[in-house]
């Protein structure tokens, strides 16, 4: 043996062929929350920009929502379930650490025996997953991958804590990623800041989410712009030509601050799904994009800058071409 192994021939690039989402049935308004804790609609709207969010019920588990969102993404993409060979579920709110949820999601979608795993990069999870899928396709490990972001944040939120209960919601979003001669997923710019690992955390399995909102807000509005610009540069797209900006939906004020800083073109489509979905962590980006596509705000061939960021702290951004 001369110390060198064969590698698979990979694809030139990867591209997203379809998005799908699942929004839980129950809508929880600010008015409903203010009956439980000391807050009101105006306070919530001005502080975080949320009007309502969805709470998942007993029959809307992370797996259930993942299957629904992925089924819709498959239908939108025209790819058959049996062609999928990789399933990545990005989540940070799994009900238990073992087993991972991806194998069951794959089984329920009749995908067969794909490579399947969960990924926890919190609110940056979908962008991390997209990058992992694109890299697997480029290296030849995969041809068709499903990337899902799915969360039940309400399971880990103290509904009597007015600092957090107004923010978080549940839901799932998914994308079908395929090998392509014309790359439609740009290079990821990702990173982490573990010094702030306690800024958003759940202390242990008996605890609820705690968040230092001010520190996270400051980090998000001052540290991430360079990464967003770099993602555009690496993809070869002028930031002034980006058609849609889809950041993680953490707080409407973070979204607005980023839009101001990044100096996009005036008529860029900006995701503001948080207004009706709350913060759904890894699900927020595919949820927002699916809705933007359905409303016609984003068209086939448009470039979109995705930017995930959250607990860890972690962040990841990339430019995609929309299906």
């Amino acid at each position: 043996m001369n110390g060198s192994l064969n590698l698979r021939a990979g694809a030139n690039g990867a591209r997203i062929l379809g998005f799908g989402d699942y929004r839980p049935r129950r809508i929880v308004t600010n008015e409903e929350i203010s009956r439980r804790v000391d807050t009101d609609d105006e306070w919530i709207r001005t502080r975080v920009g949320i009007s309502e969010r969805r709470f998942a019920g007993a029959d809307e588990s992370i797996v259930d929502m993942s299957v629904a969102a992925a089924g819709k993404a498959l239908a939108n993409s025209g790819v058959l379930a049996e062609d999928i060979d990789t399933v990545i579920v990005a989540t940070c709110t799994a009900p238990a650490p073992i087993p991972g949820l991806a194998p069951e999601v794959a089984h329920r979608l009749s995908i067969g025996t794909p490579g399947a795993y969960d990924l926890n990069a919190a609110c940056a999870g979908f962008c991390y997953g997209l990058s992992a899928a694109a890299d697997a396709i480029r290296s030849g490990s995969s041809r068709y991958a499903l990337v899902i972001g799915a969360e039940r944040l309400t399971d880990w939120t103290d509904q009597d804590d007015r600092g957090t209960c107004i923010i978080f919601g549940d839901g799932a979003g998914a994308a079908v990623v395929a090998a392509s001669d014309t790359p439609g997923i740009g290079p990821v710019v990702w990173g982490s800041d573990g010094e702030k690992s306690r800024a958003i955390s759940v202390a242990d399995r008996f605890s609820y989410m705690e968040m230092d909102g001010r520190s996270v807000y400051r980090w998000a509005t001052t540290r991430l712009a360079d990464s967003a610009r770099r993602a555009c540069e690496l993809a070869g797209v002028d930031i002034g030509d980006i058609d849609a900006f889809v950041p993680h939906q953490a707080n409407l004020r973070i979204v607005d601050s980023m839009v101001k800083t990044l100096k996009f073109k005036d008529d860029i489509a900006v995701a503001r799904d948080i207004v009706t979905s709350g913060n759904t962590s890894s699900a927020s980006i595919p949820l927002a994009l699916t809705a933007m596509i359905e409303r016609g705000e984003v068209k086939t061939g448009d470039t979109a800058l995705l930017l995930g960021f959250g607990a860890g702290l972690t962040y990841a951004g990339q430019v995609i071409i929309c299906p």
Binding site: T46, R47, R214, S215, T221, N251
Partner: protein, 81 residues
């Protein structure tokens, strides 16, 4: 180095831009949250603007100690280089 007057007027400008506070109201004894209705996230925006304008660094724990316009002015005065 900005003078005390320049710091005061620069702070008033930032407060007006970020939080819509009238310059005449931005007097040293005013509390950001109690008197000027500046919420915690707007405080972060003010801190970022102060850092850019005066070339000072305001760590998160220091930010928590800045309660009045006067606190902010003296922090800038002490820490500007």
């Amino acid at each position: 180095m900005a003078t005390t007057e320049e710091i005061q007027s620069g702070l008033a400008e930032i407060l007006e831009e970020v939080a819509g506070v009238l310059p005449a109201d931005a007097t040293p004894e005013k509390s950001f949250t109690e008197d000027l209705d500046v919420d915690s996230l707007s405080m972060v925006e003010i801190a970022t603007a102060v850092e850019d304008k005066f070339g000072v660094a305001i760590p998160d724990d220091e930010l928590a100690n800045i309660r009045t316009v006067g606190d902010a002015a003296s922090f800038i005065e002490k820490n500007q280089s």
